[in-house]
């Protein structure tokens, strides 16, 4: 798509955005609530098509896509959307929330959930939407647009989709002419966009993020451990650790030196079971190379020290490395978990510190309140139980921000004299 085509889309959407801004918000939210409800229905044609097309486009296996969608959409109800709007955009005598004429949305990665929600937000505010889908997921944005257009054709016409290579600077320039840009992507991508936007334009950035799991002593034994390990395995298996809510490492807060071994063993068992239900998707040669480097290096460390352990099945569908310390190491993704011992809270704090700036979620179990407070201090925007990391509620403060208001123009109306 040329820069001129992108600019034409922005121009056309401006007009539609102006018209959309005049529609009653309730009418728009009702339509979007119906859209969400339709996506929650497993027999909806768009969801069926997404489930059918996403595996080829992204490499995820079909059962993983189905499970990921089912679990994530379970709580994304129309009522939840209405409640979110009511809470964040409640009209009052003194404050008005309005959308920009056009909001540009730059998607990244291969997980459909962020894209689905990110597309609804600007529309809920009454803004037209220009979306550039991720190169790895050319499916979701198109299907979401179709679903909106079928339920509310006028709303559907307020969405434009553009495609251009990530290094097409001219097309990007035209794309960023929108009044507000919502960008998902790597830190360098976000930095590149931020540099190009004049200060007067709004940027809502969702850069690199990762998640962790932390288990306390009581979750390192018996059925509590089995439950926690099954949950972490599910969080890891869904979307093959490709999302910002995928745990990359598990910290075991326990003075018991055997506890990390128990956790590693339980995770290996749980990941083996997860593989039966939701097999790991395809892995590119580059990713496979990183996995092999890290796995084999850990095996050598295992031979050298005896304190490191590597648990991986034939075929390498997952890797669990029981580390000997909290040292930060590479995260190859694709179901590669490191288990770090944290004998006390200080060790846990030191272990998590290098991740803190990028921390999205922490799944935890068996922690005392002071340990939970420690996690709050890391800056993570979500603490939850293992097994639901990949299913954030609709009103999750993604990256510590409200869902809708960062994309809104907010006007405070003060009383005038007389």
């Amino acid at each position: 798509m040329t820069e001129h085509a992108v600019a034409a889309q922005v121009g056309a959407l401006r007009e539609r955005g102006r018209a959309l801004a005049k529609r009653p918000r309730k009418e728009i939210i009702d339509a979007l609530a119906r859209v969400l409800e339709s996506w929650r229905n497993p027999s909806s044609p768009w969801r069926i098509e997404l489930e059918s097309q996403l595996p080829d486009a992204t490499g995820f296996r079909a059962p993983t896509v189905r499970e990921g969608l089912e679990r994530a959409l379970a709580h994304w109800t129309g009522d939840a959307l209405e409640a979110l709007v009511a809470r964040e955009l409640e009209p009052s005598a003194s404050t008005r929330y309005t959308g920009f004429e056009v909001t540009a949305l730059l998607l990244a990665g291969s997980i459909p959930m962020p894209g689905l929600l990110a597309m609804l937000g600007p529309l809920a505010l009454g803004s037209a939407l220009l979306v550039r889908p991720a190169s790895r997921d050319p499916v979701t944005a198109r299907l979401v647009t179709q679903s909106i257009a079928e339920i509310d054709p006028e709303l559907g016409r307020c969405i434009g989709e553009v495609h251009f290579p990530h290094d097409d600077e001219d097309a990007m320039e035209a794309f960023l002419e929108s009044d507000c840009t919502v960008a998902y992507g790597s830190d360098p991508t976000i930095a590149r966009i931020a540099r190009r936007l004049p200060p007067s334009r709004r940027l809502v950035a969702h850069p690199h993020r990762l998640s962790l799991a932390v288990l306390g002593e009581s979750a390192t034994r018996g059925s509590a451990l089995e439950t926690a390990a099954a949950g972490i395995a599910l969080d890891t298996a869904l979307w093959d650790q490709q999302g910002c809510l995928s745990p990359l490492a598990v910290f075991v807060l326990s003075a018991d030196a055997e506890a990390p071994d128990r956790v590693a063993d339980a995770l290996a068992t749980a990941l083996t079971a997860a593989e039966q239900h939701w097999p790991r998707g395809s892995v590119t040669p580059a990713a496979a190379s990183v996995i092999a480097q890290e796995r084999d290096t850990a095996m050598l460390r295992e031979s050298a020290s005896g304190r490191v352990r590597v648990l991986t099945p034939a075929g390498g569908a997952f890797t669990v490395v029981r580390e000997q310390d909290c040292q930060l190491r590479a995260a190859p993704l694709h179901r590669f978990l490191r288990v770090h011992p944290a004998p006390d809270a200080d060790a846990l704090e030191r272990g998590i510190a290098p991740y803190a700036r990028h921390l999205a979620g922490v799944a935890h179990a068996g922690l005392a309140p002071d340990a939970i407070q420690l996690l709050v201090r890391t800056g993570a925007s979500r603490l939850c139980a293992p097994g639901i990391l990949q299913c954030p509620p609709l009103d999750w403060h993604h990256d510590g921000m409200p869902v809708l208001t960062p994309m809104a123009r907010i006007t405070d109306i003060e009383p005038t004299r007389g």
Binding site: S186, A288, S303, A331
Partner: protein, 369 residues
Amino acid sequence: MTGDPRRRLLDEAVLTWMREDPWCDDEARFDALAHELFAFQFEHCAPYRGFCRNRGVDPSSIASWHEIPCVPTGAFKELTLTSFPPAETRHVFRTSGTSTTSRGSLHLDTLALYEASLLPTFRFHLLPDLPAAGRVRIEVLAPPPEEASDSSLSHMFGVAIAKLGSEASRYAVLRGSLDTEALRVRLERDVEAEEPILLCGTAFGFVHFLEYLEEHGDFLRLPAGTHLMETGGFKGRSRELPREELYAELEARLGVPAECVVNQYGMTELGSQFYDSVLRQPQRPRRKLGPPWVRARIVDPESGRPLAPGEIGSIAIFDLANTGSVCAIQTADLGRAIEDGFEVLGREPEAEARGCSIAADVLLAGVGS
């Protein structure tokens, strides 16, 4: 030379091969030496022995050198992998460590094999027309060995200049910086003298020098017959340049055509190097070739299974020059086989595809900083 008699015999056998002229590419000889070397390293390198045993491999279980387990290059960042007592370490080469938190290191008890391997290969691929006792001016865009004693690359250039370089050979990187002005003056003298030279250095060093020439509007036409060797990538550097663009700029600014530019593929963890075939076999596809005492295979990264020609996989290298450490190395680079050699495709960061999740060296470079 090492004190272990078995190791001495191995070293001597490999050194004998390295000294032969012309080279003899003998698969049976390679296989026999690789077997012996694997057995020796299995016995003397404890972490490697455990690694092999975990895979159910020992010297008696392998039918061919293809089955020798490869150690990942990343392991050299974590462990000291030697097949000699640590007290006998005489030299340590370290990786540049430009984009990760730790540096890999290769511990050596002798430099004899390293030097015996590098010199004939360097000469074979970069100076194919140099007479037997001939010398050439070598200009190096890298620091001299005395300023970078742990750099295997600087050591290589030091040996090359000592054995093949004329008295006018120079290093352009001194006290940590590239002296662009002095380099330009020397190259202008080469142009006037119409004497071809060998210009060697890191890819990033050449980019730096090209930027200098561009800023000053300079174009040099180095004499016909000048060869240029570049090596290394741009990881962790401020500017990256695709190789095709680099070669086009080298031709435009220095007058060295792409067919005279040779990329060297080597790494600290290896005793031998690979070079582009362009000067030796200009009519055939550009590909990496090494001497007969080193073999490269393209393998499935996760399983180690060999891949068909053209398929993309990890580059695994078996280097008989690595008698003091481990001879079988799995690199972090991707490549594909081309005829009797291979092409290096790099590491493909995948940042665009990955989206907002984070992984691998991004985690270490970004989060860890």
